[in-house]
Protein backbone atom coordinates (compact mmCIF):
# COMPACT_ATOMS: atom_id res chain seq x y z
CA UNK A 1 0.00 0.00 0.00
CA UNK A 2 1.46 3.30 -1.02
CA UNK A 3 0.07 6.04 1.08
CA UNK A 4 0.74 9.62 2.00
CA UNK A 5 -0.18 8.55 5.49
CA UNK A 6 2.51 6.17 6.65
CA UNK A 7 1.26 2.65 6.16
CA UNK A 8 1.88 -0.13 8.56
CA UNK A 9 4.78 -2.25 7.52
CA UNK A 10 3.95 -5.39 5.68
CA UNK A 11 6.28 -8.32 6.28
CA UNK A 12 5.72 -9.70 2.79
CA UNK A 13 3.86 -8.61 -0.33
CA UNK A 14 0.13 -9.03 0.22
CA UNK A 15 -1.59 -11.74 -1.81
CA UNK A 16 -4.16 -10.30 -4.19
CA UNK A 17 -7.62 -9.82 -2.79
CA UNK A 18 -10.21 -12.38 -3.80
CA UNK A 19 -13.07 -9.89 -3.92
CA UNK A 20 -15.42 -12.33 -5.62
CA UNK A 21 -15.04 -14.68 -2.67
CA UNK A 22 -15.34 -11.90 -0.06
CA UNK A 23 -18.66 -10.85 -1.59
CA UNK A 24 -20.22 -13.96 -0.10
CA UNK A 25 -19.48 -12.53 3.37
CA UNK A 26 -21.89 -9.64 2.74
CA UNK A 27 -25.50 -10.88 2.89
CA UNK A 28 -27.00 -7.75 1.35
CA UNK A 29 -24.98 -8.14 -1.84
CA UNK A 30 -27.04 -11.18 -2.81
CA UNK A 31 -30.36 -9.38 -2.39
CA UNK A 32 -32.01 -8.00 -5.51
CA UNK A 33 -33.08 -4.36 -5.91
CA UNK A 34 -35.85 -3.58 -8.36
CA UNK A 35 -35.67 -7.26 -9.23
CA UNK A 36 -32.06 -6.97 -10.34
CA UNK A 37 -28.75 -7.93 -8.77
CA UNK A 38 -27.44 -5.15 -6.56
CA UNK A 39 -24.44 -3.26 -7.90
CA UNK A 40 -23.41 -1.26 -4.86
CA UNK A 41 -21.19 1.69 -5.75
CA UNK A 42 -22.05 4.09 -2.92
CA UNK A 43 -19.36 3.04 -0.49
CA UNK A 44 -18.22 6.58 0.27
CA UNK A 45 -21.69 7.15 1.74
CA UNK A 46 -21.73 3.93 3.69
CA UNK A 47 -20.34 0.44 3.27
CA UNK A 48 -22.19 -2.85 3.53
CA UNK A 49 -21.59 -5.10 6.52
CA UNK A 50 -20.02 -8.54 6.51
CA UNK A 51 -21.72 -11.39 8.37
CA UNK A 52 -19.00 -11.15 11.05
CA UNK A 53 -20.13 -7.62 11.98
CA UNK A 54 -23.82 -8.47 11.94
CA UNK A 55 -23.11 -11.49 14.15
CA UNK A 56 -20.99 -9.47 16.57
CA UNK A 57 -23.85 -7.04 17.10
CA UNK A 58 -26.58 -9.66 17.42
CA UNK A 59 -24.56 -12.02 19.60
CA UNK A 60 -23.86 -9.14 21.97
CA UNK A 61 -27.58 -8.71 22.46
CA UNK A 62 -28.25 -12.43 22.55
CA UNK A 63 -25.45 -13.47 24.88
CA UNK A 64 -23.78 -10.54 26.56
CA UNK A 65 -26.12 -7.61 26.98
CA UNK A 66 -25.49 -5.64 30.17
CA UNK A 67 -24.34 -2.15 31.02
CA UNK A 68 -20.60 -1.58 31.19
CA UNK A 69 -18.45 -0.26 34.03
CA UNK A 70 -21.29 -0.72 36.52
CA UNK A 71 -22.57 -4.12 37.47
CA UNK A 72 -20.89 -6.65 39.68
CA UNK A 73 -22.69 -9.42 37.84
CA UNK A 74 -21.24 -11.75 35.26
CA UNK A 75 -22.85 -10.23 32.17
CA UNK A 76 -21.75 -6.73 33.06
CA UNK A 77 -18.24 -7.97 33.66
CA UNK A 78 -18.17 -9.72 30.29
CA UNK A 79 -19.74 -6.79 28.44
CA UNK A 80 -17.19 -4.46 30.01
CA UNK A 81 -14.34 -6.71 28.96
CA UNK A 82 -15.71 -6.99 25.41
CA UNK A 83 -16.11 -3.21 25.20
CA UNK A 84 -12.55 -2.65 26.47
CA UNK A 85 -11.26 -5.26 24.01
CA UNK A 86 -13.02 -3.43 21.19
CA UNK A 87 -11.16 -0.27 22.18
CA UNK A 88 -7.87 -2.16 22.17
CA UNK A 89 -8.67 -3.54 18.72
CA UNK A 90 -9.26 -0.02 17.40
CA UNK A 91 -6.03 1.20 19.02
CA UNK A 92 -4.04 -1.59 17.33
CA UNK A 93 -5.68 -0.97 13.97
CA UNK A 94 -4.82 2.74 13.90
CA UNK A 95 -1.43 2.39 15.53
CA UNK A 96 -2.35 4.21 18.75
CA UNK A 97 0.17 3.80 21.54
CA UNK A 98 -2.49 3.68 24.23
CA UNK A 99 -6.13 2.47 24.07
CA UNK A 100 -7.05 5.31 26.41
CA UNK A 101 -6.45 7.64 23.47
CA UNK A 102 -9.38 6.00 21.66
CA UNK A 103 -12.70 7.72 22.43
CA UNK A 104 -15.86 6.07 21.17
CA UNK A 105 -18.25 8.57 19.62
CA UNK A 106 -21.20 8.39 17.24
CA UNK A 107 -19.12 9.06 14.17
CA UNK A 108 -16.73 11.46 12.50
CA UNK A 109 -19.15 14.36 12.82
CA UNK A 110 -19.41 13.93 16.57
CA UNK A 111 -15.64 13.54 16.86
CA UNK A 112 -15.01 16.84 15.08
CA UNK A 113 -17.64 18.59 17.17
CA UNK A 114 -16.10 17.19 20.34
CA UNK A 115 -12.70 18.63 19.44
CA UNK A 116 -14.19 21.95 18.36
CA UNK A 117 -16.20 22.31 21.56
CA UNK A 118 -13.40 21.33 23.96
CA UNK A 119 -9.95 21.77 22.50
CA UNK A 120 -11.19 24.45 20.10
CA UNK A 121 -12.97 26.49 22.73
CA UNK A 122 -9.86 26.51 24.91
CA UNK A 123 -7.35 27.35 22.21
CA UNK A 124 -9.17 29.59 19.73
CA UNK A 125 -9.84 33.20 20.66
CA UNK A 126 -10.82 36.48 19.03
CA UNK A 127 -8.71 37.24 15.98
CA UNK A 128 -7.38 33.69 15.76
CA UNK A 129 -7.74 31.46 12.72
CA UNK A 130 -8.82 27.90 12.05
CA UNK A 131 -7.56 26.46 8.78
CA UNK A 132 -9.55 23.92 6.76
CA UNK A 133 -9.30 23.04 3.06
CA UNK A 134 -11.47 23.38 0.00
CA UNK A 135 -11.90 19.62 -0.08
CA UNK A 136 -13.67 19.26 3.23
CA UNK A 137 -17.01 17.61 3.92
CA UNK A 138 -19.48 19.90 5.68
CA UNK A 139 -18.79 18.00 8.89
CA UNK A 140 -15.23 19.33 8.89
CA UNK A 141 -16.33 22.87 8.07
CA UNK A 142 -19.45 23.69 10.03
CA UNK A 143 -18.22 22.78 13.56
CA UNK A 144 -15.25 25.12 13.00
CA UNK A 145 -17.46 27.81 11.57
CA UNK A 146 -19.65 27.63 14.68
CA UNK A 147 -16.57 27.86 16.88
CA UNK A 148 -15.16 30.80 14.95
CA UNK A 149 -18.47 32.62 15.13
CA UNK A 150 -18.62 32.13 18.87
CA UNK A 151 -15.05 33.28 19.41
CA UNK A 152 -14.73 36.03 16.84
CA UNK A 153 -12.13 33.96 15.00
CA UNK A 154 -11.75 33.52 11.25
CA UNK A 155 -12.19 30.33 9.25
CA UNK A 156 -9.67 30.05 6.41
CA UNK A 157 -9.64 27.46 3.64
CA UNK A 158 -6.72 26.16 1.61
CA UNK A 159 -7.78 26.54 -2.02
CA UNK A 160 -7.68 23.70 -4.55
CA UNK A 161 -6.70 23.75 -8.19
CA UNK A 162 -8.87 22.64 -11.11
CA UNK A 163 -7.62 19.08 -10.77
CA UNK A 164 -8.90 18.90 -7.22
CA UNK A 165 -5.50 19.03 -5.51
CA UNK A 166 -4.63 21.32 -2.63
CA UNK A 167 -2.57 24.38 -3.46
CA UNK A 168 0.42 23.81 -1.20
CA UNK A 169 1.91 27.27 -1.74
CA UNK A 170 -1.34 28.78 -0.59
CA UNK A 171 -1.33 26.37 2.32
CA UNK A 172 2.07 27.66 3.44
CA UNK A 173 0.89 31.24 3.10
CA UNK A 174 -2.27 30.55 5.10
CA UNK A 175 -0.41 28.87 7.96
CA UNK A 176 0.02 32.01 9.97
CA UNK A 177 0.90 33.13 13.48
CA UNK A 178 -2.81 33.18 14.37
CA UNK A 179 -3.55 29.68 13.04
CA UNK A 180 -4.71 27.64 16.02
CA UNK A 181 -5.66 24.42 14.24
CA UNK A 182 -5.51 22.70 10.86
CA UNK A 183 -8.49 20.44 10.11
CA UNK A 184 -7.96 18.42 6.95
CA UNK A 185 -9.32 15.34 5.29
CA UNK A 186 -7.26 12.30 4.34
CA UNK A 187 -9.37 11.66 1.22
CA UNK A 188 -11.97 13.89 -0.44
CA UNK A 189 -15.33 12.16 -0.31
CA UNK A 190 -16.46 13.96 -3.46
CA UNK A 191 -13.44 13.65 -5.76
CA UNK A 192 -11.35 10.92 -4.19
CA UNK A 193 -8.33 13.24 -3.87
CA UNK A 194 -5.76 11.73 -1.52
CA UNK A 195 -4.25 14.68 0.31
CA UNK A 196 -0.49 14.74 0.97
CA UNK A 197 -1.26 14.26 4.62
CA UNK A 198 2.21 13.51 5.97
CA UNK A 199 3.54 16.66 4.30
CA UNK A 200 0.66 18.80 5.55
CA UNK A 201 1.11 17.54 9.08
CA UNK A 202 4.87 18.10 8.92
CA UNK A 203 4.49 21.71 7.76
CA UNK A 204 1.75 22.49 10.27
CA UNK A 205 3.63 20.95 13.17
CA UNK A 206 6.78 22.83 12.16
CA UNK A 207 4.77 25.99 12.83
CA UNK A 208 3.39 24.59 16.07
CA UNK A 209 -0.13 24.20 14.65
CA UNK A 210 -2.15 21.23 15.96
CA UNK A 211 -3.76 19.03 13.30
CA UNK A 212 -7.07 17.18 13.18
CA UNK A 213 -7.47 14.62 10.40
CA UNK A 214 -10.87 13.60 9.06
CA UNK A 215 -10.26 9.93 8.35
CA UNK A 216 -13.85 9.02 7.45
CA UNK A 217 -12.89 8.24 3.86
CA UNK A 218 -9.24 7.59 4.50
CA UNK A 219 -9.31 4.77 7.00
CA UNK A 220 -11.24 2.27 4.84
CA UNK A 221 -8.94 2.79 1.87
CA UNK A 222 -5.53 3.79 3.21
CA UNK A 223 -5.57 2.90 6.86
CA UNK A 224 -3.56 5.05 9.22
CA UNK A 225 -0.72 4.84 11.67
CA UNK A 226 -1.48 7.69 14.01
CA UNK A 227 1.82 7.38 15.84
CA UNK A 228 3.83 7.76 12.63
CA UNK A 229 1.55 10.41 11.14
CA UNK A 230 2.21 12.90 13.90
CA UNK A 231 -1.20 14.55 13.84
CA UNK A 232 -3.01 15.37 17.08
CA UNK A 233 -6.52 14.09 16.36
CA UNK A 234 -7.86 11.48 13.97
CA UNK A 235 -11.59 10.93 13.48
CA UNK A 236 -13.44 8.20 11.63
CA UNK A 237 -16.84 6.51 11.35
CA UNK A 238 -17.56 2.83 11.84
CA UNK A 239 -20.14 2.58 9.09
CA UNK A 240 -17.74 3.63 6.35
CA UNK A 241 -15.32 0.88 7.28
CA UNK A 242 -17.78 -2.04 7.15
CA UNK A 243 -18.94 -1.50 10.74
CA UNK A 244 -22.29 -0.40 12.19
CA UNK A 245 -23.78 3.07 12.04
CA UNK A 246 -23.82 5.17 15.20
CA UNK A 247 -20.28 4.31 16.26
CA UNK A 248 -17.07 6.10 15.45
CA UNK A 249 -13.78 7.04 16.97
CA UNK A 250 -11.89 10.10 18.02
CA UNK A 251 -8.25 9.36 18.55
CA UNK A 252 -6.36 12.10 20.30
CA UNK A 253 -2.87 12.57 21.62
CA UNK A 254 -3.05 11.70 25.29
CA UNK A 255 -1.50 14.84 26.69
CA UNK A 256 -4.00 16.95 24.71
CA UNK A 257 -6.99 14.83 25.71
CA UNK A 258 -5.97 15.09 29.33
CA UNK A 259 -5.80 18.87 29.18
CA UNK A 260 -9.14 19.17 27.40
CA UNK A 261 -12.30 19.80 29.42
CA UNK A 262 -15.05 17.19 29.18
CA UNK A 263 -17.70 17.76 26.55
CA UNK A 264 -20.92 16.16 27.72
CA UNK A 265 -21.66 15.62 31.38
CA UNK A 266 -23.33 12.57 32.82
CA UNK A 267 -22.68 9.09 34.07
CA UNK A 268 -19.45 7.24 33.33
CA UNK A 269 -17.49 10.46 32.82
CA UNK A 270 -17.22 11.19 36.55
CA UNK A 271 -15.24 9.86 39.48
CA UNK A 272 -17.32 11.51 42.16
CA UNK A 273 -20.23 13.89 42.18
CA UNK A 274 -21.51 16.16 44.89
CA UNK A 275 -23.62 19.26 44.45
CA UNK A 276 -20.52 21.30 45.20
CA UNK A 277 -18.00 19.61 42.96
CA UNK A 278 -17.61 16.86 40.41
CA UNK A 279 -14.35 15.10 39.77
CA UNK A 280 -14.07 13.93 36.20
CA UNK A 281 -13.10 10.42 35.29
CA UNK A 282 -9.88 9.53 33.54
CA UNK A 283 -9.41 8.88 29.85
CA UNK A 284 -11.19 7.64 27.87
CA UNK A 285 -14.26 7.76 30.13
CA UNK A 286 -14.02 11.52 30.58
CA UNK A 287 -15.33 11.86 27.02
CA UNK A 288 -17.87 9.04 27.09
CA UNK A 289 -20.77 10.31 29.16
CA UNK A 290 -23.71 7.97 29.47
CA UNK A 291 -24.13 4.36 28.45
CA UNK A 292 -22.05 3.95 25.31
CA UNK A 293 -22.96 2.21 22.06
CA UNK A 294 -21.61 -1.12 23.26
CA UNK A 295 -22.99 -3.20 20.41
CA UNK A 296 -21.65 -0.65 17.96
CA UNK A 297 -18.17 -0.78 19.45
CA UNK A 298 -18.16 -4.58 19.25
CA UNK A 299 -19.41 -4.40 15.67
CA UNK A 300 -16.71 -1.90 14.79
CA UNK A 301 -14.02 -4.12 16.28
CA UNK A 302 -15.40 -7.03 14.25
CA UNK A 303 -15.23 -4.88 11.12
CA UNK A 304 -11.62 -3.90 11.77
CA UNK A 305 -10.75 -7.54 12.44
CA UNK A 306 -12.43 -8.44 9.16
CA UNK A 307 -10.43 -5.79 7.32
CA UNK A 308 -7.25 -6.99 9.00
CA UNK A 309 -7.92 -10.56 7.86
CA UNK A 310 -8.64 -9.37 4.31
CA UNK A 311 -5.40 -7.38 4.46
CA UNK A 312 -5.56 -3.58 4.23
CA UNK A 313 -2.72 -3.55 1.67
CA UNK A 314 -4.52 -6.09 -0.51
CA UNK A 315 -7.75 -4.11 -0.23
CA UNK A 316 -5.98 -0.90 -1.23
CA UNK A 317 -4.29 -2.58 -4.19
CA UNK A 318 -7.58 -4.13 -5.29
CA UNK A 319 -9.39 -0.81 -5.11
CA UNK A 320 -6.63 0.96 -7.02
CA UNK A 321 -6.78 -1.64 -9.79
CA UNK A 322 -10.55 -1.34 -9.93
CA UNK A 323 -10.29 2.45 -10.02
CA UNK A 324 -7.90 2.31 -12.98
CA UNK A 325 -10.26 -0.09 -14.74
CA UNK A 326 -13.22 2.19 -14.02
CA UNK A 327 -11.50 5.38 -15.20
CA UNK A 328 -10.66 3.62 -18.44
CA UNK A 329 -14.11 2.09 -18.89
CA UNK A 330 -15.90 5.36 -18.10
CA UNK A 331 -13.84 7.21 -20.68
CA UNK A 332 -15.52 5.05 -23.33
CA UNK A 333 -18.95 6.50 -22.48
CA UNK A 334 -19.70 9.39 -24.85
CA UNK A 335 -20.27 12.80 -23.23
CA UNK A 336 -19.05 11.56 -19.87
CA UNK A 337 -16.82 13.96 -17.99
CA UNK A 338 -14.92 12.91 -14.91
CA UNK A 339 -14.80 15.72 -12.37
CA UNK A 340 -11.34 16.35 -10.97
CA UNK A 341 -8.05 14.76 -11.88
CA UNK A 342 -6.10 14.66 -8.65
CA UNK A 343 -2.52 13.43 -8.59
CA UNK A 344 -3.53 10.62 -6.25
CA UNK A 345 -7.06 9.31 -6.15
CA UNK A 346 -8.79 6.77 -3.96
CA UNK A 347 -11.66 4.62 -5.23
CA UNK A 348 -14.03 7.51 -5.85
CA UNK A 349 -15.11 8.86 -9.24
CA UNK A 350 -17.34 11.90 -9.60
CA UNK A 351 -18.73 12.44 -13.08
CA UNK A 352 -21.20 14.28 -15.25
CA UNK A 353 -22.99 12.79 -18.24
CA UNK A 354 -23.65 15.39 -20.92
CA UNK A 355 -26.30 17.76 -19.67
CA UNK A 356 -28.26 15.05 -17.87
CA UNK A 357 -28.74 16.07 -14.26
CA UNK A 358 -26.96 13.74 -11.79
CA UNK A 359 -30.27 13.02 -10.06
CA UNK A 360 -31.69 11.67 -13.29
CA UNK A 361 -28.52 9.64 -13.81
CA UNK A 362 -28.96 8.23 -10.31
CA UNK A 363 -32.62 7.35 -10.82
CA UNK A 364 -32.02 5.52 -14.09
CA UNK A 365 -29.03 3.64 -12.68
CA UNK A 366 -31.06 2.70 -9.61
CA UNK A 367 -33.71 1.04 -11.75
CA UNK A 368 -30.92 -1.06 -13.20
CA UNK A 369 -29.91 -2.11 -9.70
CA UNK A 370 -26.91 0.24 -9.56
CA UNK A 371 -26.53 2.37 -6.42
CA UNK A 372 -24.53 5.58 -6.83
CA UNK A 373 -24.70 8.92 -5.07
CA UNK A 374 -26.04 11.98 -6.85
CA UNK A 375 -25.80 15.42 -5.36
CA UNK A 376 -23.34 17.80 -3.79
CA UNK A 377 -21.86 15.15 -1.47
CA UNK A 378 -22.07 17.45 1.55
CA UNK A 379 -19.24 19.45 0.05
CA UNK A 380 -20.93 22.54 -1.33
CA UNK A 381 -17.86 24.81 -1.19
CA UNK A 382 -15.97 22.24 -3.25
CA UNK A 383 -18.80 21.92 -5.77
CA UNK A 384 -18.97 25.70 -6.12
CA UNK A 385 -15.22 25.88 -6.66
CA UNK A 386 -15.53 23.32 -9.45
CA UNK A 387 -18.49 25.15 -10.95
CA UNK A 388 -20.93 22.26 -10.71
CA UNK A 389 -24.16 22.06 -8.72
CA UNK A 390 -24.00 18.32 -8.33
CA UNK A 391 -22.26 15.24 -9.65
CA UNK A 392 -22.93 11.54 -9.82
CA UNK A 393 -20.42 9.56 -7.82
CA UNK A 394 -19.35 5.94 -7.91
CA UNK A 395 -17.22 4.79 -4.98
CA UNK A 396 -15.69 1.40 -4.45
CA UNK A 397 -15.30 -0.97 -1.56
CA UNK A 398 -13.37 -4.16 -1.07
CA UNK A 399 -16.20 -6.31 -2.49
CA UNK A 400 -16.56 -4.47 -5.78
CA UNK A 401 -15.45 -6.28 -8.91
CA UNK A 402 -14.96 -5.41 -12.56
CA UNK A 403 -18.45 -6.70 -13.32
CA UNK A 404 -19.80 -3.86 -11.16
CA UNK A 405 -17.95 -1.33 -13.31
CA UNK A 406 -19.20 -3.04 -16.47
CA UNK A 407 -22.77 -2.82 -15.14
CA UNK A 408 -22.23 0.88 -14.40
CA UNK A 409 -21.06 1.50 -17.95
CA UNK A 410 -24.06 -0.38 -19.37
CA UNK A 411 -26.32 1.62 -17.05
CA UNK A 412 -24.82 4.88 -18.27
CA UNK A 413 -25.53 3.88 -21.86
CA UNK A 414 -29.14 3.29 -20.75
CA UNK A 415 -29.19 6.80 -19.22
CA UNK A 416 -28.08 8.22 -22.55
CA UNK A 417 -30.87 6.33 -24.31
CA UNK A 418 -33.53 7.73 -21.99
CA UNK A 419 -32.27 11.28 -22.49
CA UNK A 420 -31.23 10.95 -26.12
Amino acid sequence: MSSSAPARESPRPAPPLDAARLRADFPILSRPVHGRPLVYLDNAATTQKPRAVIDAVSSYYEELNANVHRGVHLLSERATRAYDDARATVARFIGAADPREVIFVRGTTEAVNLVAQTFGRRSVGAGDEVLVTGLEHHSNIVPWQMLCEEKGAALKAVPIDDAGDLDLDAFDALLGPRTRLLAVTQISNALGTVTPLAELVRRAKARGVPVLVDGAQGLPHLGVDVAALGADFYAFSGHKVYGPTGIGVLWGRRELLERMPPWQGGGDMILSVSFEKTVYNELPHKFEAGTPNIAGALGLAAALDYLTRAGPEAVAAHEQALLAYALDALSSVPDLRIVGAPRRRAGVVSFLLGDVHPHDVGTVLDRHGIAVRAGHHCAQPLMRRLGVAATARASFGLYNVREDVDALVRGLHAVREVFA
Partner: protein, 151 residues
Protein backbone atom coordinates in the same frame (compact mmCIF):
# COMPACT_ATOMS: atom_id res chain seq x y z
CA UNK B 1 -40.79 -5.54 -16.51
CA UNK B 2 -37.56 -4.16 -17.88
CA UNK B 3 -35.85 -1.20 -16.29
CA UNK B 4 -36.44 0.92 -19.36
CA UNK B 5 -40.18 0.26 -19.46
CA UNK B 6 -40.44 1.08 -15.73
CA UNK B 7 -38.49 4.25 -16.30
CA UNK B 8 -40.76 5.36 -19.11
CA UNK B 9 -43.53 5.78 -16.52
CA UNK B 10 -41.42 8.45 -14.84
CA UNK B 11 -39.67 9.90 -17.84
CA UNK B 12 -42.67 10.18 -20.15
CA UNK B 13 -42.08 11.83 -23.52
CA UNK B 14 -43.84 15.00 -22.41
CA UNK B 15 -41.73 15.17 -19.26
CA UNK B 16 -38.50 14.71 -21.20
CA UNK B 17 -39.60 17.35 -23.70
CA UNK B 18 -40.41 19.93 -21.01
CA UNK B 19 -37.16 19.06 -19.24
CA UNK B 20 -35.17 19.75 -22.37
CA UNK B 21 -37.19 22.67 -23.69
CA UNK B 22 -38.84 24.28 -20.70
CA UNK B 23 -41.71 26.64 -21.51
CA UNK B 24 -42.01 30.07 -19.90
CA UNK B 25 -38.34 29.95 -19.00
CA UNK B 26 -36.63 33.22 -18.16
CA UNK B 27 -37.24 36.51 -16.36
CA UNK B 28 -40.65 38.14 -16.27
CA UNK B 29 -41.11 41.82 -16.98
CA UNK B 30 -43.49 43.45 -14.57
CA UNK B 31 -43.59 40.53 -12.18
CA UNK B 32 -45.44 41.28 -8.98
CA UNK B 33 -44.36 38.19 -7.03
CA UNK B 34 -41.14 36.18 -6.83
CA UNK B 35 -39.87 33.28 -4.78
CA UNK B 36 -36.94 30.92 -4.85
CA UNK B 37 -37.20 27.18 -4.53
CA UNK B 38 -34.17 25.32 -3.33
CA UNK B 39 -33.53 21.63 -2.81
CA UNK B 40 -30.36 21.60 -0.73
CA UNK B 41 -29.89 17.87 -1.21
CA UNK B 42 -29.25 18.08 -4.92
CA UNK B 43 -28.69 21.78 -5.49
CA UNK B 44 -31.81 22.27 -7.62
CA UNK B 45 -32.52 25.96 -7.57
CA UNK B 46 -35.35 27.81 -9.27
CA UNK B 47 -36.81 31.27 -9.10
CA UNK B 48 -40.48 31.57 -9.92
CA UNK B 49 -41.82 34.93 -11.11
CA UNK B 50 -45.53 35.70 -11.20
CA UNK B 51 -47.59 38.62 -12.40
CA UNK B 52 -51.00 38.95 -10.81
CA UNK B 53 -53.79 40.73 -12.63
CA UNK B 54 -56.36 41.39 -9.92
CA UNK B 55 -56.46 38.12 -8.06
CA UNK B 56 -55.63 36.05 -11.13
CA UNK B 57 -52.26 34.87 -12.37
CA UNK B 58 -51.69 36.64 -15.65
CA UNK B 59 -48.28 35.09 -16.25
CA UNK B 60 -45.79 32.81 -14.52
CA UNK B 61 -42.20 32.24 -15.61
CA UNK B 62 -39.25 30.54 -13.99
CA UNK B 63 -35.45 30.50 -14.09
CA UNK B 64 -32.76 28.31 -12.62
CA UNK B 65 -31.40 24.81 -12.90
CA UNK B 66 -32.38 21.38 -11.80
CA UNK B 67 -33.06 17.83 -12.86
CA UNK B 68 -35.39 16.78 -15.65
CA UNK B 69 -38.28 16.16 -13.27
CA UNK B 70 -38.05 19.47 -11.42
CA UNK B 71 -37.58 21.45 -14.60
CA UNK B 72 -40.42 19.71 -16.43
CA UNK B 73 -42.72 20.15 -13.44
CA UNK B 74 -41.91 23.86 -13.27
CA UNK B 75 -42.47 24.19 -17.00
CA UNK B 76 -45.85 22.42 -17.01
CA UNK B 77 -46.90 24.33 -13.90
CA UNK B 78 -46.30 27.72 -15.48
CA UNK B 79 -48.79 26.76 -18.16
CA UNK B 80 -51.56 25.23 -16.09
CA UNK B 81 -51.76 27.93 -13.41
CA UNK B 82 -52.28 30.76 -15.86
CA UNK B 83 -55.58 32.53 -15.19
CA UNK B 84 -56.01 30.90 -11.80
CA UNK B 85 -56.45 32.57 -8.42
CA UNK B 86 -54.23 31.81 -5.44
CA UNK B 87 -56.98 29.64 -3.94
CA UNK B 88 -57.33 27.69 -7.19
CA UNK B 89 -53.56 27.20 -7.35
CA UNK B 90 -53.66 25.85 -3.84
CA UNK B 91 -56.44 23.40 -4.68
CA UNK B 92 -54.63 22.28 -7.81
CA UNK B 93 -51.39 21.83 -5.90
CA UNK B 94 -53.13 19.63 -3.37
CA UNK B 95 -54.37 17.33 -6.11
CA UNK B 96 -50.98 17.41 -7.84
CA UNK B 97 -49.28 16.55 -4.57
CA UNK B 98 -51.59 13.58 -4.09
CA UNK B 99 -50.77 12.46 -7.61
CA UNK B 100 -47.01 12.52 -7.07
CA UNK B 101 -47.16 10.93 -3.63
CA UNK B 102 -49.98 8.41 -4.01
CA UNK B 103 -50.20 7.92 -7.76
CA UNK B 104 -53.17 8.25 -10.06
CA UNK B 105 -56.29 8.06 -7.88
CA UNK B 106 -59.87 9.20 -8.40
CA UNK B 107 -59.20 12.69 -7.05
CA UNK B 108 -56.45 13.26 -9.58
CA UNK B 109 -58.57 12.53 -12.64
CA UNK B 110 -58.83 15.33 -15.16
CA UNK B 111 -55.56 16.81 -13.94
CA UNK B 112 -54.94 17.52 -17.59
CA UNK B 113 -51.32 18.10 -18.46
CA UNK B 114 -50.26 17.42 -14.89
CA UNK B 115 -51.17 13.76 -15.34
CA UNK B 116 -47.78 13.15 -16.98
CA UNK B 117 -46.30 13.19 -13.46
CA UNK B 118 -48.36 10.14 -12.47
CA UNK B 119 -45.21 7.99 -12.46
CA UNK B 120 -43.40 10.06 -9.83
CA UNK B 121 -45.12 8.35 -6.88
CA UNK B 122 -43.12 5.22 -7.62
CA UNK B 123 -39.91 7.22 -7.00
CA UNK B 124 -40.24 8.66 -3.49
CA UNK B 125 -36.91 10.47 -3.70
CA UNK B 126 -38.18 12.43 -6.70
CA UNK B 127 -41.36 13.81 -5.12
CA UNK B 128 -39.42 16.83 -3.91
CA UNK B 129 -38.15 17.44 -7.43
CA UNK B 130 -41.68 17.44 -8.82
CA UNK B 131 -42.97 19.71 -6.05
CA UNK B 132 -40.16 22.26 -5.92
CA UNK B 133 -41.54 24.88 -8.33
CA UNK B 134 -45.00 24.52 -6.83
CA UNK B 135 -43.67 25.28 -3.37
CA UNK B 136 -41.91 28.32 -4.76
CA UNK B 137 -45.05 29.57 -6.51
CA UNK B 138 -47.13 29.11 -3.36
CA UNK B 139 -44.47 30.94 -1.38
CA UNK B 140 -44.56 33.77 -3.90
CA UNK B 141 -48.34 34.02 -3.70
CA UNK B 142 -48.66 33.71 0.05
CA UNK B 143 -45.45 34.92 1.56
CA UNK B 144 -44.29 37.43 -1.01
CA UNK B 145 -40.63 37.27 -1.87
CA UNK B 146 -38.43 34.77 -0.11
CA UNK B 147 -36.87 31.39 -0.45
CA UNK B 148 -38.51 28.06 0.14
CA UNK B 149 -36.57 24.92 0.79
CA UNK B 150 -37.66 21.34 0.40
CA UNK B 151 -35.76 20.43 3.55
Amino acid sequence: MTASSELSDLYQEVVLDHGKRPRNFGPLEGATHHAEGLNPLCGDHFTVHARLDGDRLAEVRFEGSGCAISKASASVMTGVVKGKSAAEVEALFERFHRLVTEGPVAASEDLGKLAVFGGVHDYPTRVKCASLAWHALRQALHGGAGAVSTE
